[in-house]
Amino acid sequence: MTALALALLLPWVVGVLLLLADGRRRVFGWVAVGGLLANLTALVVLAIDVLPDGSRTIVTGGWEGGVGIVLRADALGVVFALLSSFVVLAALVHEVLDGVRSRTFPALVVLLATGLTGLFLTGDVFNFYVFFELAMIAAYVLTAYGDDRHQLGAALIFAVVNLVGSFLFLIAVAATYHVTGTLSMEDVATRMADVEPNAAILIAVTFFVAFGTKLGLFPFHFWLPAVYAGTRPAVAAILSGALANIGAYGLLRFGAGLLPNELALGSTVLIVIGSASVIYGALLAVSRRDPAEMLAYSAIGQAGYVLVALGVGGPIGLAAAVLYAILNALSKALLFLSGALRGALVAAAFAVGALSLAGMPPTAGFLGKLALFRSGVDIGSVALVVLLFVGGALSFVYAFQLYQHEFWRGGRVHAGTDEAEINATADRQPASPVAVRAVSVVLALVVLGLGIWPEPLLSLSADAAAVLHGGATR
């Protein structure tokens, strides 16, 4: 109970106070890290309490249920909250050690983590929207963070496209309230079965479009490469490792949790769109040479896998979707953070991330691919297995193309650097500070560790999926 409230309140207060401080000073950077650590600790305590199959509910302000704001922690929410907090923390530590360049950066990151924690731990459809906007608004400002002035345009596009997505989500929430008369997720799940099918399908499609836009799925992806390409590595890591989880979690919670019948009806569509995403993302990633852009297209492809697993459905498919979302977030964060660094061990950390993205043992990414293959075999679809194989092979190609360009051939080149500079950087690039590199190495060790000892992660994702499956059969 207390852990649930603290996980939300502590970073919130810290974030608001930090807005008043000058975040470029290292002290305030560490205060932000402290706030996120407190958030993560509270989430771990909560997770121990909730897992494997319990749930904790708290109604804020001592109101009775239905009037007050309901926070509800179950296995699925806690798993995603833990994952996102961890990724955000890693990115923040990375940036603080590397030197923060903007006043508001630490505060915004902490507020983003607050929003994410809130939306994973809420039991109310409308509060989901509120927390979702809290996280997204912090993200809009963060995308404009960096030295590159071209980033402003990307931030504007990102904000406009995602706001349209947000308002569509709000419309879908209002429609859900209209047809079910409740905002509580549990009640919506039970009452949705009696709703007129036409209305339910319309609502499901609107939710899908809203989350598809967040996740950057194939037809809604156009904003994504421009945004990722120019941001600082830490921001890119937060966007792809934490913020993209909103899309994955939203599709799982609203699709499989609240609208299971509509999800089953649209499973073919989901698999087709997911497959298109996988192939499109992987092909374009292979064709790109700018590392950030390559990883951005790869994010589109990886989002497709989650959608395919969701389309397959059932306990195996849903567990695969959860597992894949977790592993993808971790390896993407690792790749973005380590890709911009130089020096001993960083290349190894990057290679671990690349292997994980491609799904090679002994890294954790292998588990995700294995779970997907299992779900493909489970429904007996040859096409799906072939698609997964082709997608995996392509991701192997681009991940190692990237590794080769970045770490074997030396010099990373930015636009506008002249020839002399290119020569200089190609010969020898100064190694990044040891502490910054340590963050990437720790992330790499986590990815490796989860691959070597996968049992906890597998049971975690199965527990998380069981929440949804329980909701579907109730």
Binding site: A159, V164, L168, L170, A174, Y177, R409, I422
Partner: protein, 136 residues
């Protein structure tokens, strides 16, 4: 009543979507305001009941649904904050680009990408011969 609301929402959303697709950045922001307002209208329409003020129910009539109003208020506040943020970004775009046109923004980005590609090309050219000599 629902039909009237649906029509109003459709018109407001359509006008907003049209403005978002125009060339002027300020109009794009205005379009976003309209789209957010259409979402608020949907929220209001979702629980439209006529009745007593929910804060002081007299008992002879059913109180009207207070939840919808709470949601609409929250949505309006969020919409306002988002509008302010968008205008701030537009102001910064104007300060750096000296233009308020979407086309200008796109051109700037295209040039940037072309620069990047070109510098990558140069690097590749430089690296290819070096690699061949290593192989020999």
């Amino acid at each position: 009543m629902t039909l009237i609301f649906a029509l109003a929402v459709a018109i407001v959303f359509g006008a907003g979507a049209f403005l978002v697709l125009t060339n002027d950045l300020v109009r794009v922001v205005a379009g976003m305001v309209l789209i957010s307002q259409s979402a608020v209208l949907v929220v209001i329409a979702s629980g439209l009941t006529r009745g007593d003020a929910p804060i002081l129910p007299t008992g002879d009539k059913q109180p009207s649904d207070p939840l919808v109003q709470a949601m609409a208020l929250t949505a309006i506040v969020i919409g306002l904050a988002v509008t302010a943020l968008l205008l701030a970004i537009v102001a910064r775009v104007r300060a750096t680009l000296r233009s308020l046109e979407v086309r200008e923004l796109a051109r700037d980005e295209a040039e940037h990408t072309a620069d990047l590609e070109q510098s990558l090309d140069e690097m590749y050219e430089r690296l290819e011969p070096a690699e061949e000599s290593e192989e020999q």
